[in-house]
């Protein structure tokens, strides 16, 4: 009798412990870290959230607490003319992106936590402005998430462009997961799509839907803080902070529901359940989810020939584990994961520069360029 119980008991204990401790495959590897070094492009920035390149020697960098820097040959100068930044919790001055035709029109886009008017608190807004040497002019509010809230969480935010002159940006669920992400008449927990002048594209998915926020492109997100346009496939990739064990990579498709908080692979950080559902009809499955959560930040593809072994790999910053993650993708599946720049610090962003090098933004530090040895 005893023996009969023992085997199933042992198996179930093993199963249970392996389920709890197991990392979602592929297992992360730590290869030889001496094959590349880093060069500091600019330092002295606490939280370098967003960056974009004016040319090979100049870039714009945002510091979350509300400073926009123009960095020229390693020297940073503050750019004046920002709207008042509402810095609270995970929000503040977030992403910056140059207009696809920046060389002609000098226009930039910014996502910023702002209060403006109305209820107490703030929400994420998208602005455009003209960049003159070290100042902004023609500041224009293109979109503002509603309503304001004093909650500290989940503001997003990233800005990217597709090949058809659409701008995409993100707002997280703003700490109101049971109300915002699944309701398309509300902001928060969404990826938005606009034309470059801020108008709403006529073929946006919810344009004809009564009461919908017409700028919404996809919904059911928690907190997307990484996004990149894949030039090869013309698809938008995004990662989002999930709950514990629920950080995700998704390909963003028109009008789709990514499920938060109805389905998720994660649990609350306290260990309690959010939902027992990981799949449901009408909701997208993530391309990949991280267990354990890495706290994913910016995201980039390496498309140049500077790092031959890394060509077409996806790179994602880990805030929590303080490294840059390289993911090899085959047929939209993650087949290999590797640590790059182990113990570098909280990685806030990663981008491919116009020179083909990868640039990494590290908290408490600044922008580093990865150089193969």
């Amino acid at each position: 009798m005893k023996k009969k119980i023992f085997a199933p008991l042992l198996i179930s204990i093993l199963c249970l412990t392996s389920c709890i401790s197991q990392e979602n495959p592929p297992e992360i590897k730590t290869p030889d870290q001496s094959k590349y070094t880093t060069e500091t492009i600019v330092d002295g920035i606490e939280i370098p959230w967003g960056m974009d390149f004016i040319n090979e020697n100049e870039l714009l960098v945002t510091e979350k607490k509300g400073i926009l820097y123009r960095v020229s040959n390693g020297k940073k100068t503050e750019v004046s003319g920002l709207p008042e930044v509402y810095q609270r919790g995970q929000g503040g001055l977030m992403d910056v992106a140059l207009h696809p035709d920046f060389n002609k029109n000098k226009t930039i886009y910014l996502t910023i936590g702002v209060h403006l008017e109305g209820e107490k608190g703030g929400n994420t807004a998208l602005y455009c402005a003209k960049l003159n040497e070290n100042s902004l002019s023609n500041l224009k509010l293109l979109y503002k998430g509603q309503p304001n809230t004093k909650k500290g969480q989940h503001w997003g935010s990233r800005i990217v462009f597709d090949q058809n002159n659409h701008l995409y940006f993100t707002i997280g669920d703003r700490g109101n997961r049971d109300v915002n992400p699944q309701d398309i008449s509300r902001d928060g927990g969404k990826v938005y799509r606009l034309n470059l002048d801020g108008s709403i594209p006529k073929d946006n998915p919810f344009i004809a839907k009564e009461n919908a926020r017409k700028a919404i492109y996809s919904y059911g997100h928690r907190n997307p803080q990484g996004m990149v346009f894949d030039k090869r496939t013309k698809k938008i990739w995004a990662n989002e902070h999930g709950p514990r064990g629920g950080d995700e990579i998704n390909i963003i498709k028109r009008g789709k529901n990514y499920g938060w908080p109805i389905i998720t692979y994660g649990i609350n950080y306290s260990g309690t359940m959010i939902t027992d559902k990981t799949k449901m009809d009408g909701m997208e499955q993530p391309l990949y989810f991280w267990v354990p959560s890495i706290a994913p930040s910016g995201m980039a593809f390496s498309t140049s020939n500077i790092y031959p072994k890394w060509k077409n790999s996806l790179f994602v910053g880990s805030l929590k584990f303080e490294y840059l993650e390289r993911l090899e993708i085959k047929n939209e599946k993650v087949i290999k994961r590797e640590k790059v720049l182990e113990s570098i610090g909280r990685v806030r962003n990663v981008k491919e520069g116009p020179d083909g090098y990868l640039y990494v933004a590290v908290e408490g530090n600044g922008i580093l360029k990865i150089i193969p040895n």
Binding site: E46, I47, K64, K65, Y86, Q87, R88, G89, G92, K151, G152, Q153, G175, Y269, S270, K320, F321, E322, G345, R346, E363, G364
Partner: protein, 132 residues
């Protein structure tokens, strides 16, 4: 009768005054818990234990003995190497944009949770007096 009415109003006035000038600890702890769950628990976790080597613990943490430094860290941020309960940490925590009352509430909550206890009640005024 007149005396009684006057006395009654003075009594009520005093109660109101004491209620509005000093926030009772119980209320501060409740507000502090809400702030904690919103702004701190993501890293330091709901049980205040943090993540060894990454996010320092607040539960039974020797760092909290210096209350002024604790308040200053929340108000202005904290950066660079610290040692908490014998473990090294070297990261960055930025200011969360909380006002002085919110900081007093969350510090009271931290100082009285997860086995921590403190005789000192942190007020908005104490937080306001802490300089960088």
């Amino acid at each position: 009768m007149k005396f009684f009415v006057t006395f009654y109003f003075i009594f009520i006035f005093n109660i109101c005054l004491s209620l509005f000038t000093k926030k009772p600890l119980q209320e501060s702890l409740l507000d502090g818990q809400e702030i904690y769950e919103d702004f701190c628990a993501q890293c330091h976790l709901e049980d205040g234990k943090g993540v060894k080597g990454i996010y320092p613990p607040l539960a039974k943490s020797d760092f909290l003995k210096d209350i002024n430094r604790t308040i200053s860290s929340i108000k202005y941020g904290l950066k660079g190497p610290i040692i908490v309960n014998g473990e090294k940490y070297n990261s960055i925590m930025v200011s969360q944009g909380l006002d002085d009352e919110e900081i007093s509430d969350v510090v009271n909550y931290i100082l009285n949770s997860w086995g921590n206890s403190s005789d000192e009640i942190i007020t908005e005024e104490i937080v306001a007096s802490i300089k960088k």
